[in-house]
């Protein structure tokens, strides 16, 4: 019994969007490949994969003897059908992730080749997530969401909206020996205090996203166990650089002002105050565990004097701007701490708290001066950076545009070797640290709490709960 | 049990020096009321609105809400037992049984949620052991006695389905169902039309004659008094100012207030010019004068009246008492005015 923070949305991997949905899919569906706790790709339904044709063909060898929950055998044709559905379904959310795939060819029943329009390094990472999840092609003629049929270790039993999703062990799973629970129930409990209370009173065996403020008391409870790992995402402040009229602020116009803001914040203290030191201060978008993390750039230290000097240089010794903040208590807490810190450097931050929908809208519409944003993170570094800062990027709400950055980041996409890609990212990172369209603050950690009896859980930076080898003592 | 009643020829009710005060008022709203009532006798309490008629009646029934009301002095002996000091339970056993009361407002005195048959039967069941069925029979019987047409059907009617006159009959039926020895009727006809009032008064008189029951009738209509009373007590501002046999009160009124009341009645005969009036109106209790309470409106009042309380004294007629220093008027002030 696992407590989730939100209610998952539609249970169709091609349409789904939520983080908690991915947790459920991990028990319900198998994907072509997976990532391990060190963020390396490992085989799942695909036993091996090769890149050829100057990076424009991706060939997967598939696992034999795999069956979907409805008994349909899994083969190359199924992969093709799934990829085509992901591309063609009107309401598909995977389209952009796999946009580079032009066609899928069935080489033989257990070999499938993806033809790409251009080399696409991030694609593998996409396939280790929902884009790589395989549904039974036989289920396509009916809406998938209400009763998804996959090939994962657990089959779908029932779902009560806002309450629970019940799964049950799939007897024909190719790895069934590794899964020890006959039944898995995901329960939606949005309030973290209540979620913890449920764990303590024995209604749950495990929960995701324990509130940092509760860690102390959870750790003090001998019947509980807390796991945590720094995740793939980051939290920061994005500044409206060029998105409409509200970009016209000293902050938006002058990078020295942004640098001053960044310098005025004591990231270490922030994570200590709000997150009990469990989250990591940072100045870049990649997790410290990632091979793309730039070790030469440690988390920036606070320097109020320098911040003041920069402001003076920019001719705005005192100024004020409005920062949009989500209305959750933790976000507000973070924002108020930043506000207090910035004020010491002469920066007056006005907070505007908004509920999620409003915030999103004003963010895309450019109705903001700065926003406290966060990103849940992707396995591939591209996902944490490209679309935010390249010209015309899908989520580039700051409308920051710098050809040099565009060049480096686009280049990073068409090479597959880690070292070569890192060079591109490092180069882009350097420019971004100067320009600061997004001021990175800290890396959130995933915190799980579970009954002390629960054994075998491996924390993974992607925040998922993989049930392989997990059992109750 | 029903055959009870005083064995002796003694009074059914003897009220002595009854005095009532309300919390928050500094005066006695009823001050030293005394009267007695024999078997089959009718006493009328008359007086202006607010003079304390109802609270006197309620006090005798033990129905004055306390707080705010407090009975500070006096006794009310009912067949020898003091109603004012008796335990609540014992009083409740008498109420609705040997002692009954009818109220002024037929429209609101019946519980709108229950059928009238049940409301009457409830009084029977409360005081007599016996089946619900028997009680219902009694209820039907008494409804017939108060001459409610189609009484069987009315048993199951709700109060709102009856006219005011009917409801007052039901109230009477409820009061009489246990054949009480004393009936207190607090302005039972004021809310009714003249034609209905006449019916009801005639009915009460008839039933009283049949049962030999004593009655206190509260009213402010001297016409009614003349019709039904054996004895009359005239109240003004909480005190009895004149009591006596009905003939004496009408033919030989002594107290200036009584005179004013009688004089202010428009006569049914030939028009006789302007009506006599009593100047002003009853002062609110806070401003009751220290002496005779009528002093502020009395054309004959002097310093003594304002400071000294006149006692009730016998006039020439036996049983006729008046509380006025100037009575008889023609003797005390006659010469002065002539």
């Amino acid at each position: 019994r696992i407590g989730l923070q939100e209610d998952p949305d539609i249970l169709d991997p091609h349409e789904a969007r939520t983080f908690v949905g991915r947790i459920v899919f991990n028990a319900l569906c198998d994907k072509l490949i997976d990532t391990n706790e060190k963020l390396e790709f490992v085989p799942r339904l695909a036993t091996s994969w090769t890149v050829s044709d100057e990076g424009k063909t991706l060939t997967f060898k598939l696992r034999a003897g795999v069956k979907f929950h409805d008994g349909t055998p899994f083969d190359a044709a199924a992969v093709k059908a799934n990829m085509e559905r992901a591309k063609d379904l009107k309401t598909s959310r995977r389209k952009s992730e796999i946009a580079s795939i032009t066609s899928v060819e069935v080489v033989d029943p257990l070999t499938v080749a993806f033809k790409l329009s251009k080399p696409d390094a991030p694609l593998l990472a996409q396939l280790s997530d929902r884009a790589g999840m395989m549904l039974s092609p036989a289920s396509f003629d009916k809406p998938v969401g209400p009763k998804p049929i996959c090939s994962g270790p657990y089959t779908f039993v029932e779902r009560v909206q806002n309450d629970r999703i019940v799964l049950e062990r799939f007897a024909d799973h190719w790895e069934k020996d590794k899964y020890h629970f006959d039944k898995v129930t995901f329960r939606t409990i949005p309030d973290s205090t209540v979620r913890l209370a449920n764990l303590r009173s024995g209604q749950l065996d495990m929960l995701e996203r324990l509130a940092a403020s509760d860690v102390k008391s959870a750790k003090g409870d001998k019947s509980l166990k807390v796991d945590s790992v720094v995740g793939l995402g980051y939290q920061g402040i994005s500044v409206n650089i060029n998105n409409g009229a509200r970009a016209d602020t000293p902050l938006g116009k002058d990078k020295r002002v942004r640098q001053a803001l960044s310098l005025s914040i004591d990231r270490e203290a922030l994570t200590q105050v709000v997150f009990e030191g469990l989250f990591e201060p940072t100045g870049q978008p990649f997790p410290s565990t990632s091979p793309y993390y730039d070790k030469s750039f440690p988390p920036p230290k606070r320097d109020v004097a320098k911040a003041k000097a920069l402001l003076k240089e920019a001719g705005v010794e005192k100024f004020s701007f409005e920062m949009q903040v989500a209305n959750s208590p933790v976000d507000q807490q973070v924002a108020q701490v930043i506000q207090a810190m910035a004020s010491e450097a002469g920066i007056d931050i006005k907070l505007r708290s908004s509920e999620f929908a409003t915030m999103l809208k004003s963010q895309t519409a450019g109705d903001f001066q700065a926003t406290r944003v966060g990103w849940s993170g992707r396995v591939d570094p591209d996902g944490n950076l490209h679309q935010f800062v390249t010209t015309g990027g899908g989520i580039n709400d700051t409308k920051y545009s710098n050809p040099a950055v565009d060049k480096e980041l686009n280049a990073s996409r068409v090479v597959y070797e880690t070292a070569a890609r890192k060079a591109h990212f490092d180069a882009a990172g350097k420019i971004l640290r100067e320009d600061l369209p997004i001021i990175y603050l800290y890396l959130p950690a995933w915190i799980w709490a579970s009954s002390a009896k629960l054994d075998g859980f491996v924390p993974n930076p992607d925040g998922m709960i993989r049930l392989a080898n997990v059992k109750l003592k | 049990m029903a055959a009870g009643g005083p064995v002796s020829t003694g009074d059914v009710l003897a009220v002595d020096d009854l005095t009532i005060r309300f919390d928050g008022h500094g005066v006695d709203l009823v001050d030293g009321a005394s009267f007695r009532l024999g078997r089959g006798e009718t006493l009328c309490l008359v007086g202006e609105s607010g003079c304390g008629k109802s609270i006197t009646a309620l006090a005798v029934m033990g129905l004055l809400a306390s707080p705010p009301a407090r009975i500070t002095r006096g006794r009310a002996l009912f067949q020898g037992q003091d109603l004012l000091s008796m335990p609540r339970k014992q009083l409740a056993d008498l109420r609705g049984n040997r002692l009954a009361m009818i109220f002024q407002e037929p429209m609101t005195s019946l519980n709108p949620a229950f059928r009238i048959g049940d409301q009457i039967a409830e009084a029977v069941v409360r005081h007599h052991s016996g089946s619900q069925q028997a009680a219902r029979e009694r209820a039907l019987d008494v409804l017939r006695r108060v001459r409610i047409p189609a009484a069987e059907k009315r048993l199951d009617a709700y109060p709102h389905q009856l006219s005011g006159g009917m409801r007052q009959r039901v109230m009477i039926a409820m009061a009489l169902v246990n054949r009480p020895d004393l009936l207190i009727a607090d302005e039972p006809t004021t809310a009714l039309d003249v034609t209905i009032q006449a019916q009801i008064l005639a009915l009460i008189a008839e039933l009283q004659r049949e049962a030999g029951m004593a009655m206190i009738l509260v009213t402010h209509d001297l016409g009614v008094v003349a019709e039904v009373a054996d004895r009359v007590a005239v109240m003004y501002a909480g005190r009895f100012v004149e009591t006596g046999p009905v003939d004496a009160i009408f033919s030989d009124p002594q107290h200036p207030y009584t005179l004013g009341l009688i004089g202010s009645l428009p006569s049914l005969g030939k028009r006789e010019g302007r009506l006599a009036t009593i100047a002003g109106s009853v002062p609110p209790p806070q401003r009751f004068p220290a002496g005779c309470r009528f002093a502020t409106r009395c054309p004959f009042a002097d310093a003594r009246c304002a400071s000294e309380v006149p006692p009730l004294v016998e006039t020439g007629t036996p049983g006729h008492q008046v509380a006025c220093f100037k009575a008889p008027l023609e003797v005390h002030v006659g010469g002065l005015a002539a």
Binding site: D191, S192, T193, L196, A197, A211, S213, D214, K216, S217, A269, Q272, V273, V274, V325, A326, N327, P329, V330, Q332, Q333, A335, Q336, V337, Q339, A340, K350, L351, R352, S353, S354, E355, T358 | -
Partner: protein, 295 residues
């Protein structure tokens, strides 16, 4: 309008007038629970108004070394999640909450009352239209209404107050209408018509003063609703903007620390309970004091 009295007797008249005015007040003053309510409310109002002088600390001053500390001699009610003094925030936060309560109710009253007057007095299709519309508004869940108004107007305390006020309008429309229908049949209204008073003046002079008492009472009760609603809207980020305190937002933050720092929620919680209690007692007292039957 008032008839001037000959000079010689005016003092007596004035006395009588003062006495009459004082009667409701005197009655109110002699009612211990109502008085208690008034004192409660007044205390919070005074504290809120003089917050700058009364509060021991700056309500927004953070102290990262004093996070979520239990009540102590230095911080009587403890500190919050980023080291601010809870007592100071409580005192300052009173403004937002009281303001939200009172102002929004005024809005509701002064929008709702005229509409209700018109509906009740004129009747007919106008009444039917207004009644259906209020029914419809009442049928829309309060939260949706408040969120919609607040979100449409943009987040701020003022707009939250307007939103809460507007969402309470139907209640006042209904109440006013009902009262008008009741008062309309009173003899003195017919009397005014018989004397030849035009409609407009009847509404203004005869109806309005006589329906005001129940509306005032309803208003004091709605103040409580509004204070709690402000808390909900704060929770949604549509009310008071951080770091400025309001009891509602304090409570909402505190709820996450119920286990580890219960004092954070206890004091704003008690403050709300006390003020709501105060307003309710005040409302009861007003009802009794203004009720002519009880005089």
């Amino acid at each position: 309008m008032t008839a001037a009295s000959p000079a010689g007797v005016s003092t007596a008249g004035a006395e009588a007038l003062a006495q009459r005015r004082n009667r409701a007040l005197a009655k109110f003053m002699s009612n211990p629970t109502a008085l208690f309510g008034a004192v409660l409310v007044l205390t919070f109002v005074v504290l809120a108004v003089f917050a700058h002088w009364v509060a021991p600390y700056d309500p927004n001053k953070t102290n990262f070394l004093m996070l979520r500390k239990a009540p102590s001699a230095m911080h009587w009610l403890g500190t919050d999640e980023i080291g601010r003094d809870i007592l100071s925030r409580l005192i300052h936060g009173g403004i937002a909450s009281l303001y939200a309560g009172v102002v929004s109710v005024f809005i509701a009253l002064f929008v709702g009352m005229p509409i209700g007057l018109v509906a009740g007095w004129f009747g007919g299709w106008l009444d039917a239209l207004i009644s259906r519309a209020t029914d419809a508004l009442l049928a829309v869940p309060f939260l949706i209404l408040a969120i919609a108004f607040a979100a449409a107007l943009g987040p701020s305390l003022t707009n939250a107050m307007i939103a809460i006020g507007l969402s309470q309008v139907p209640i006042f429309v209904r109440l006013t209408r009902g009262q008008v229908l009741a008062v309309k049949t009173e003899d003195f209204v017919e009397g005014a018509r018989a004397v030849g008073v035009p409609n407009r003046l009847i509404l203004l002079r005869h109806i309005t003063p006589n329906i005001f008492a129940p509306l005032v009472v309803q208003a004091t009760l709605t103040v409580a609703t509004a204070i709690i609603a402000e808390a909900s809207l704060s929770f949604l980020g549509l009310g008071q903007q951080p770091p400025a305190p309001s009891w509602g937002s304090m409570l909402n933050t505190a709820k996450n620390y119920m286990d580890s720092a219960p004092w954070m929620s206890i004091s704003p919680g008690i403050a709300i309970v006390l003020v709501v209690l105060g307003f309710n007692l005040l409302g009861d007292g007003l009802r009794d004091a203004l009720d002519p039957r009880e005089q």
